[in-house]
Amino acid sequence: MPLNLSIAVVAIPLFMFFFLGLAGVKMSRKLTGVLGVLGMLVTTVLAYGVAFTYFFGTGDGQVTAEGVRQAVIVWNPDWLAFTPTLVARMGIALDPIAAMMLVVITTISLMVHLYSLGYMSDHHGNPEKGFQRFYADLALFTFSMLGLVVATNLFQIFIFFEMVGVSSYLLIGFYFHSPAAIHASKKAFIVTRLADLFFLLGIMILSYYTGTFDFFNQNGMVGMTDSMDAAKAAIGSAGAQTFMGCSVMAWALTFIFIGGAGKSAMYPLHIWLPDAMEGPTPVSALIHAATMVVAGVFLVARLFPLYVIEQGAMDIICVVGAFTAFYAAAIACVQSDIKRALAFSTISQIAFMMTSLAVSSADNGLIEIHEGYGLGYMASMFHLFTHAMFKALLFLCAGAIIHAVHSNENKDMHGLHKYMPITSFAFLIGCLAIAGIPPFAGFWSKDEILVACYEKGLGWGLWMSAVAGMTAFYMFRIYFLIFHWKEHKVHTEHKPADQVWTMTLPLIILSVVSIVAGFVPMHDLVTWDGKELHTQLNWVVAGSSVAIACVGIGLAYVMYFKENPLPSKMKNSMNGLWTAAYHRFYMDELYQFITHKVIFKAICVPIAWFDRKFIDGFMNMLADVTNRAAYGVRRMQSGSIQSYVYVYIMGALLIAVVSIVCVLM
């Protein structure tokens, strides 16, 4: 299959967006949904073909040269020429991570499209309003995300960054009649937009010093190391420039990371993600678990050749990632709303990916490629891949459960295993995968991450291992609270049960994927320099991480499998900590305080007062004086000839008298 078909992969969702968005209202809901799914199916098949050709193609389609997998620029027309050398282009480039992301995005998107046929068809028994709009927005999101991953340059990635932000906004606010959804969508948009401001600053600095937006050279197939040489040269030239003690390149890369951190919900820009769960659950699965939230990780991975040179920026990412992983995991341990707990789990897992990327440059101040170097990069991309699968699975299960019991709170669930066996097994597989139990997908990728962390330093490794243990604990806490704990209180009007096949089929497919995804030979396929990375299972790390995960699961089993007073005892024994974690360590309140009390009250109110009293007041005074003067002068221009003549004659007489007096004196 020719790689040119990747153009179609991106174009079909865009077409579906316009088609479903414009013609959707004229079509029946069922037809819209089926067309949406079919469009996505075609896209998925094409994307698989393109990715397969890219990775395994031989003959004409071969992209490896001397054992190094090359990036392919499929299509790259000029779009905006700022200067003869600084040109923003819009195009499609394929490299290992782009090809991998094509697979991830289209798979999850197809599953979500299919799942939504069932999930969105009714809303508490009534037909869901805006079904067509939902499918159009899904298509828009898929297009934006695909455009983001195949971007050939920073400028294009920024544009698509904004576009995924917009589609996320539209989909979070899908239930626009609910105030909570409106607030959540606004919050998500504003927070990520604020982060994108830094991203834009970073792009400006970077493009100013390197003179280009492009990731790859323009001469068709080029090795990824070429872009690194260009970056080295750029950093060499800009390296002498410093601002506040850091090189400009460090500033630029940190700013770009902040943009990515906003999208990827890194502390302290994570506050929008839990609230984004107000959107429909399939949207949470697609956007806020699997694809859009990893855009930040993808961005850092895309600029990885620059980041490895700039150790300072990497250290920031490392610290932020490691802290966020722990922080979000701690909160996830006590949340009662299953979607929110899953959201914090997502934040924690994305932080794993970020940390993994950041530890990749361990112990090298200089560019020196050694064995095992770039392991973190591979592990991060691997985890991105597997996490997308099992987290989407968990969210879709959560959607099925919510659909069955009409509540997000786990106190309304309990003991659903008997009623929803398929969902229960799917959820269990997702939990095992995220906890890192072999042979499920999460084990393989998380193990690589931990190995990379231990390579950076023992402290980093232990920290991340501990967080991995917490992951196992909170995931099984959720699982046991939903499916076991005690008998489900059955309401007479309807019994919870497994949902229709359109919702169950994606669960089964994703379960299978979650089991086998770990066996994808990612270290051969997705590496930062395109070369194969020789890794082997580190038995010490693997064994210890499995042991830690088992301890976490065991703890969860003891506390939450059967109804018992242990959890409430625990809660009472460390009430302060529990409450703080339940309230997400008061980050939202802190933001509220900073924005309302500090920024609004202390800065905006005085500025507004000054504006009203002084700026407006001065202008109003000018207008007022003019007005009053005109009002006074108005009486002089009476239009009465007689009074004019009177004044004239009096004036003439006065002048006459004065002149006579002057002459006489």
Binding site: R634, S638, G639, S640, Q642, V645, Y646, I649
Partner: protein
């Protein structure tokens, strides 16, 4: 007794004064126009008299006067036409009442 310059100028001045006074105080548009004519005629007299006494060898003052009389007649006709139209429209020629075009 010879007629002196002053003997012409004093009545002319009185006439002009009457014209000014009438122009300022009358409310009737016709009366205002008559006052205007008075002022104009006193100026005409001055023209003629100054020509006669100061420059007896030239006739420009006379010509100017004739011109002024002719133009004044035309202008009076025009003014009367306006006044008649105003009267037809408003049934009134009181200048204090006619302020529709003001402001």
């Amino acid at each position: 007794m010879d007629l002196t310059l002053l003997m012409y100028l004093v009545p002319s001045l009185i006439m002009f004064g009457c014209g000014v006074y009438g122009f300022l105080t009358r409310k009737n548009m016709i009366a205002i126009m008559i006052s205007l004519e008075l002022m104009l005629n006193s100026v005409d007299i001055n023209f003629v008299v100054f020509n006669r006494y100061l420059f007896p060898l030239s006739n420009e003052g006379m010509f100017f006067t004739l011109f002024a009389i002719a133009i004044a007649a035309a202008e009076t006709a025009l003014a009367l036409a306006i006044i008649i139209n105003v009267f037809r429209a408003l049934k009134n020629v009181d200048i204090t009442e006619i302020n529709k075009l003001k402001f």
